[in-house]
Amino acid sequence: MPRTEAMIEKGLTLVDAINEALYQELERDSRVVLLGEDVGANGGVFRVTDGLQKVFGSDRVVDTPLAESGIMGTAIGLAMAGMRPIPEIQFEGFLGPAYDQLVNHAARYRTRSRGSVTIPMTVRVPVGGGIHAPELHSDSPEAIYAHTPGLKVVMPSTPYDAKGLLLSAIRDPDPVIFFEPKRVYRSFRERVPEEDYTIPIGQAKILSEGTDLTVVTWGATTFQCLDALDKLPEDLSVELIDLRTIAPYDRDTVIQSVQKTGRCVVVHEAPKTAGMGAEIATLIQEHCFLYLKAPVQRVTGFDTVMPYYKLELDYLPDGPRIAEAIQQTAAY
């Protein structure tokens, strides 16, 4: 939606930036259709699609029946027939019913039809914990989808990245899951260009350069990592990488950084075992073995069910936990 006074003065939140990208793409490309539960009149439960139905009408911004497989499956059909659907799944926990359509169909269609049937679709999904939400509203399932050939998985952590990556995702010829860390939705504002711009999928961002140790993270834990960096001794030089894209992730940036620093800590909200941290640690031992000065550490959620919110902050990696892992790794 057009910018408000507050946005002009103080910048955009993650919600504002995503809304602006959707607005601009709906305006630019008549093939774009938003569909999902409550995305229309209500503007989405997080108000990410606020105001869009009023401007673009109920044919372009569609309140669907309450059925995730139906949303995903019909979005696939829309994409097959030349539209650019942007289905929203209200919370990552509700990807379950849509899993079959997403993984067994959207992800495979280009391959199984040898390129004759393709699914250019962007699935928007709020993700992660930290907002005192009910059960199945706080998980971090990105590794499951990163393990699915044919899908791309994106998780921006800032308003600027969100706008540029979302525009790339919508214009991508393949299905993209666009995870929106809900803990960041309104946590801060930043300056975002009003004009159209894209950030390439698959490109990490170095948030702070350093020489002693590399921290790799993405999504909301980026801010817990920044918090941890504040707690470290001044002479410890840490390079912080926000992966931004989970699949295909930016191997080169990680490899180059760890070849320089020789130490790495990976931080994510998702459970530890078989998470993306395991993949990144393996990449590092394949490519940086002789550069390593310490084992790669992981600071992650636990291999448990995501707890209800009274304990969620005990589960999620926070500044102190991350700072401790960094110091242990630095002192190894």
Binding site: G70, A81, N104, H105, T111, R114, T118, E286
Partner: protein, 380 residues
């Protein structure tokens, strides 16, 4: 307040050509011309021949698992003919080879699919059919989405989706029906009720008297037809397609038919099916029925039949020859269609798959000197 009825419903059944080849002239009016019937009869015969040959190809190890279409040719022909080739979009499961072929998919594509070659799913430009769908019931949502796109773009086109009685137990079936009805998408739900979902008969599959009645819950026009009756299938299909094209939304058709073969070549229906039941349905064979009708009309005879069977054999021989003449795809094919543009890691895996167990450039892995140098660390 007294209790009152708030909704009443009924399901109609239509048969036009009975088992003895006798036509209900009144109902048949404005359906198929003699010429069209003859052409469809010939196409059904070729399809049956292909089906029999495909079965033998599997048995002799020249093709993988194959699901026979035998017995369901009238359903595929009637529905396929009612939809407009090159305009409407067919979204199949796997027992309507004839409909796919009528809409421009060469038969050897179907064989290629079952020969384990994805190029059988590579839909030629301008042909509006989806690849054969193996999982049950998932494709109806795709058809609904395709039809929804037609509606959004105000194109006078229709999507037609095929599925079996078993598929109507799947959640996706109900979600597709609901979405289609809510969106008033121009889609025809065409159920080939062939009585069996592998070994589970219709009576165990559902407790509703008909499949057709399921559409009533979604506010969708619905009908049950004799699925082995080309005329009845075509008439119902044509009405449904016309309704959708005119903006009247989705329709449901239950074509009551029978799977004369096993579920697939990997199945043996004798384990669970009463041979007398099969025998009875053999007598209702849609092709036999048409032959009786055409013979009764005086436009068909044994000589013509013999000629047709000869021709069908030749056509099918050519199809098999074409499919078997296509060379195995290259290994690159595994990679090349995963994304529009291959990510760097996939490029790496593709270029090193034969040389590195790591799926990466050995130099990058720091293994360049492996086998010649001593271990780096201990040497220093």
């Amino acid at each position: 307040m007294p209790i009152k009825t708030v909704y009443k419903a009924q399901v109609e059944y239509m048969q036009i050509l009975d088992e003895n080849g006798k036509l209900d002239e009144k109902l048949a009016k404005d359906t198929l011309t003699d010429e069209e019937v003859l052409s469809l009869y010939e196409q059904m015969t070729v399809c049956r021949q292909l089906d029999e040959v495909a079965f033998r190809l599997q048995r002799s190890g020249r093709m993988g698992t194959y699901p026979q279409n035998k017995g369901q040719e009238a359903a595929a022909a009637g529905m396929g003919f009612a939809a407009k080739k090159g305009v409407d979009w067919l979204v199949p499961c796997y027992r309507e080879n004839l409909a796919l072929n009528m809409h421009g998919l060469p038969y050897h594509y179907v064989l290629l699919h079952w020969m384990g070659d994805e190029r059988g799913n590579k839909i030629p430009e301008g042909v509006y059919v989806n690849p054969i769908a193996i999982p049950i019931g998932t494709q109806m949502l795709h058809a609904t989405g395709i039809a929804w796109a037609f509606k959004l773009r105000k194109e006078p086109r229709v999507a037609v989706t095929f599925f079996g009685d078993g598929a109507t137990s799947e959640g996706d079936f109900h979600e597709a029906m609901n979405f289609a009805s809510v969106m008033q998408a121009p889609v025809v739900f065409f159920c080939q009720n062939n009585q069996w979902a592998i070994s589970v008969p219709r009576e165990i599959q559902m407790n509703s008297e008909t499949v057709a009645q399921k559409a009533i819950a979604y506010g969708m026009p619905t009908i049950q037809v004799d699925g082995n009756d080309l005329f009845a299938v075509y008439k119902a299909a044509k009405e449904a397609v016309e309704r959708a094209r005119a903006g009247g939304g989705p329709s449901f058709i239950e074509a009551v038919t029978y799977r004369l073969g096993d579920h697939t070549t990997a199945d043996d229906a004798r384990r669970y099916r009463d041979p007398q039941e099969l025998e009875a349905w053999m007598g209702r064979d849609p092709i036999l029925r048409l032959r009786k009708y055409l013979t009764g009309k005086g436009v068909w005879d044994d000589a013509k039949q013999a000629k047709l069977e000869e021709r069908a054999k030749t056509i099918v021989q050519e199809i098999v020859k074409t499919a078997e003449g296509i060379e195995k795809p290259t290994t690159d094919d595994i990679f090349d269609f995963t994304y529009a543009t291959l990510p760097a890691e996939l490029e790496r895996q593709k270029s090193t798959m034969r040389t590195s167990s790591l799926g990466q450039d050995p130099a990058q892995a720091g293994l360049r000197d492996m086998g010649t140098a001593t271990h780096g660390h201990s040497a220093t």
